[in-house]
């Protein structure tokens, strides 16, 4: 037990150590986190009226970010799956970093949902036993199960591995691998259920199609690895941890395939909806072309399409894909493209027009921007600490020593490199 507490302390100490660049980064994030605190404070004091939402558009920026981040969380599987199922050696070495990313992403998801709730003070109403958990009827309860389950699996899997490494003892393979394999399947479930959450409502025809889950998964497995590649490149740049080129090649291949399928599904959706152009396609038409002058979403949609298609074409070229100087920029483009397409580009035309046919345009309020920006900052904050801690353990800098004068070796080296 004492050893476990020591692990916890050493892990955090390693996570919170770094040079001037590190502290500047954390300070910047802290600033945005304070904005989040203020935004939440105002929203809880005055109610959701401080957002841009209304009865016509009652789901907006918060849920858009939620849906997107669930995908990023699920995408940790793109590191875990090749590592364990295909025994990809290079990914296997850094698999725990993928799990850390998943933890940070799920934390963000939970914060987005809380921000979306009109009565966060009543959150306990949804807890089983003390509240009422409308399971299996309500899709939201399924989402609660899969998300918290996924968070738990990643915490257990990731930290069990790190702890064993820290204590320098043998992994219990049966236990560890079963956690890993369950987590792989579970990752698919979180995004599938999130798709079911919104595509099981015939009142919203744009979402009411069975392609939603697979589209969610393919876009997630394009956006997620894009972020992972960027994070891994930063890790390779700023820490002594070696990540081989093959790991990046593997991930960029996953992006190409998934992005290609996602674009194909988007094309199918557009043709299916627009060819007959029934009233049920008005949401999609509003997104693509606007509606009698209400065309805020139009430039966003086409930007997203350009980024995704451009990224796909570039990534198809092996020379470009394998160029690790260009790759992060393509990844950023893909990430932003999918963030638009699957965030606001999915949420707003889904609820516009309303079931009785009213078009209302929605722009997030400043409070919403503060809260969302702050949650992203919290995500990056958590991710930075987790990754730095994990790298410390992986490199062997942070390890258990019996002696009283425990020091975190290599702290200076890392500080120097950062």
């Amino acid at each position: 037990m004492k050893r476990f507490i020591q692990f916890f302390i050493d892990f955090l100490r390693s996570g919170f150590s770094g040079g001037i660049l590190f502290w500047a980064w954390m300070l910047l994030l802290s600033f945005f986190i304070m904005l989040w605190g203020y935004g939440e404070f105002v929203q809880i004091r005055d109610g959701m009226i401080v957002t841009g939402l209304n009865d016509q558009v009652s789901w907006g920026f918060y849920l858009a970010n939620f849906v997107f981040m669930v995908g990023v969380a699920a995408a940790a599987v793109t590191v875990v799956f090749p590592a364990y199922v295909y025994k990809h050696h290079e990914l296997h070495r850094i698999v725990v970093l993928g799990e850390m990313l998943a933890i940070a992403a799920v934390v963000m998801c939970l914060l987005f949902v809380t921000a979306h709730m009109g009565r966060p003070d009543r959150l306990w109403h949804i807890f089983p036993v003390i509240g009422i958990f409308n399971w299996p009827h309500a899709m939201l309860t399924w989402d609660v199960i899969v998300l918290t389950g996924y968070l738990g699996l990643n915490i257990i899997g990731g930290f069990y591995f790190l702890y064993k490494k820290y204590a320098d003892t043998e992994l219990n393979k049966t236990f560890y691998l079963s956690v890993v394999y369950i987590a792989i399947v579970w990752a698919l479930s979180i995004h599938t259920v999130t798709a079911f959450l919104i595509n099981t409502m015939p009142a919203r025809p744009m979402w009411f199609h069975s392609m939603m889950p697979i589209k969610f998964i393919t876009t997630a497995f394009a956006a997620g690895p894009s972020l992972i590649i960027i994070v891994f490149l930063l890790v390779r740049r700023f820490t002594p941890l070696k990540i081989a080129d093959e790991a990046f090649h593997m991930l960029s291949q996953i992006i190409v395939w998934c992005l290609g399928i996602a674009l194909f599904l988007t094309l199918s959706e557009i043709v299916t909806e627009l060819y007959p152009s029934t009233e049920h396609s008005l949401g999609l038409q509003y997104l693509m072309f606007g509606h009698h002058g209400l065309n805020t979403l139009v430039p966003f949609f086409w930007t997203a399409m350009a980024l995704m298609i451009g990224g796909f074409i570039l990534l198809l070229i092996p020379k470009v894909r394998k160029n690790l100087l260009v790759l992060p920029f393509i990844c950023l483009a893909v990430f932003i493209g999918i963030y638009i397409e699957k965030g606001m580009g999915l949420m707003l035309p889904g609820v516009t027009p309303t079931p009785i046919g009213e078009f209302a345009e929605y722009t997030p309020s400043n409070i919403e921007f503060m809260v969302v920006g702050g949650i992203w900052a919290i995500g990056f904050f958590v991710l930075t600490v987790l990754i730095k801690g994990a790298i410390g353990v992986l490199l062997g800098d942070v390890r258990y020593t019996e002696s009283e004068s425990r020091t975190v070796r290599g702290e200076q080296t890392r500080a120097a490199t950062t």
Binding site: I49, S58, N366
Partner: protein
């Protein structure tokens, strides 16, 4: 009037220019955020005196009779203090052998919206500048979606419009081909008819199915009710409702004490708090005492009929037996108990 509901948020939202101007304020404010969190903000009216016990009470559906009595007394005390008059909070259960149904004669309806007003007065909805909530929407329907005047006189519309649909002839018109922001000099208009909508009290309500905490449920008399004290404000039900019948209290409701109707019901028209969903309950505070709903009572042309679907002699059953009757969005299998008919 009803436009305000959409405009509410416009008045509240800020433009990009405001953002730049306010950015400085926000920065300063967020730095002193910790201090602000500690300082006590001016408490909003209806939530000021909420007792500890009210925060931790059970869901109404699962309360024992004693607990219900306790909860009701607690509320009566709080509301009476708040509104400065004796407020009654009813807890009448559904009457046995009653399944409420509603029938609306679209041939008679003249689109005067007196029902909308009466509903707001009866059911204590939020009103005023900041947030105006109405449970009934009257859609103005063009006959056959063809307005001769538009085509013959105005020509094809060209300039861009605002919010409700820009330059379309029909600001609304996706599923139901009607719009609810009409403001003619007088009603009824020559080339239109009217289709009022409110909660349809579905027998298979999609809103109940998606509620993660079962705060909204179908009572035995067929009314879909909400325990406002249990609602977490996730708005899944608003997403699931195909009739756009549910409303959300975006801010603290604005209910002047002198206009407040003190005869309330726990599941019906008692004052709501911010952050919860509400909707039509067929005036549960009235119907469970054998009275008509507010909208039935006020309708000047007798277009609205309420009755017990289990009683063959009731108005609604007679309508169902003898008139041409239809329901909205029958394809969704929600089985509304709100029928439309023509003579």
């Amino acid at each position: 009037m009803s436009k305000q509901e959409t405009k509410v948020k416009d008045a509240n939202g800020t433009s990009r220019r405001d953002f730049l101007r306010k950015a400085g304020t926000y920065t300063a404010a967020s730095l002193s955020g910790a201090a602000m969190l500690l300082s006590n903000p001016k408490p909003a009216k209806a939530t000021a005196n909420v007792s500890w016990a009210e925060h931790f009470q059970k869901n109404y559906r699962l309360m024992t009779d004693d607990e219900k009595k306790e909860a009701v007394e607690r509320l009566e005390k709080r509301y009476s203090e708040e509104f400065g008059k004796k407020v009654k909070v009813g807890s009448e259960p559904a009457i046995e052998g009653v399944l409420l149904g509603y029938a609306l004669n679209i041939q008679k309806c003249i689109g005067c919206r007196r029902c909308v007003k009466a509903c707001v007065a009866e059911n204590n909805q939020s009103r005023g500048e900041k947030q105006q909530i109405e449970w009934i929407r009257v859609l103005r329907m063009e006959k056959g979606q063809f307005s001769a005047e538009d085509r013959d006189v105005h020509g094809y519309p060209e300039d861009y419009g605002i919010q409700v649909g820009g330059n379309a002839y029909k600001p609304a018109g996706v599923v139901l081909e009607g719009q609810h922001y009409y403001e003619p000099d007088q009603v009824p208009e020559k080339d239109a008819f009217y289709l009022p909508m409110q909660c349809m009290q579905c027998e298979k309500p999609p809103c109940v199915k998606v509620c993660p905490v079962r705060t909204t449920y179908r009572d035995p008399d067929g009314i879909v009710v909400i325990d406002y004290n249990w609602c977490i404000g996730c708005r899944m039900c608003i997403g699931a409702c195909p009739y756009w019948a549910r409303r959300f209290n975006w801010g603290e409701p604005d209910l002047p004490a002198e206009e407040m109707n003190p005869d309330t019901h726990y599941l019906g028209n008692r004052p709501r708090m911010k952050g919860v969903v509400e909707k039509c309950t067929f005036c549960v505070q009235r119907t469970r005492k054998g009275r008509w709903t507010g909208c039935v009572e006020v309708c000047p042309v007798g277009a609205r009929k309420l009755g017990n679907l289990l009683d063959p002699e009731s108005d609604v059953r007679k309508v169902l037996a003898s008139k041409k009757v239809f329901r909205l969005r029958a394809d969704l299998n929600t089985y509304p108990k709100f029928f439309y008919f023509m003579d």
